[in-house]
Symmetry: C2
């Protein structure tokens, strides 16, 4: 699976899930291949693998966009969103994005459980020998979302 094809499918999945689940139109801003890490206030992380390939994806939100996304999912106000709502909502988003991505590539992967990290401006890095791809997205108010995906061929001993 080449990098360009992967980017395209990930971007389609992200836009589709945000639109469907939270009524948020995201615009793809930039594909960054020179960096291996992203920062955010809340991040959903999920792994995927099959016999040939392993990968991971992280979706990092600034807190404002995370609250807006989860509020829209719950048909609620950003001010009334609790930390538990946020964790559940961002985990759900990560799960749906990777599921939608997997659907678009004929479900070749099995998917792990998502984990959610919260902590102001934390850093997410992947440890790997593959090439990471970072895609940034913006909503209409200019809030930025970063999606970091990486794949690695499994080495046989």
């Amino acid at each position: 699976m080449d990098e360009r094809y992967l980017c395209q499918k990930i971007a389609e999945a992200v836009k589709s899930v945000f639109n469907m689940m939270a009524g948020i139109s995201l615009e793809e801003k930039e594909v960054i291949t020179s960096k291996e890490e992203i920062r955010g206030d809340i991040t959903g992380i999920i792994g995927f693998s099959n016999e040939q390939t392993k990968g991971s994806m992280a979706i990092s939100f600034p807190i404002k966009l995370a609250k807006k996304t989860v509020a829209n999912m719950l048909v609620s106000d950003p001010e009334s969103i609790t930390e538990d709502d946020l964790i559940d909502g961002i985990g759900e988003i990560a799960n749906m994005v990777i599921g939608d991505f997997n659907n678009r590539i004929e479900n070749i992967f099995t998917i792990s459980l998502p984990s959610v990290v919260t902590g102001k401006n934390h850093l997410v890095s992947f440890f790997h020998d593959g090439s990471p791809v970072i895609i940034s997205f913006s909503d209409k108010e200019g809030n930025l979302l970063y999606v970091l995906t990486t794949l690695e061929k499994i080495k046989r001993r």
Copy 2:
């Protein structure tokens, strides 16, 4: 796979990897099943899955223990460990723990790529319907390490 068996295998893998890779003896302190989240300064996260089950594991370090672990792995001093060394080292540890765990249960899972989160006292939660297991470990100086693992049966549609 029941919770108790899982705990035992995870604990064995953690102690074996720390001993072998960093010469650190860890003592199992406590198994916590009442919480679903852990905090740390640096965390390695890795997913695993097969056709029936999906899971994730997070290993959260206080910065002092992370530096000591990575310094020992690199046969170096904790003071000379860079942020890049830390990220690589903690990713490697997460990878080896889950690999050792998988070995102990006949390699039934495929493993995703590890990701590493850094940020002082960040929170790691799992989003799931399963039951999470947290095991705490202590080194001889009383530095505490938390390992959060959770498994979930895959629902068929």
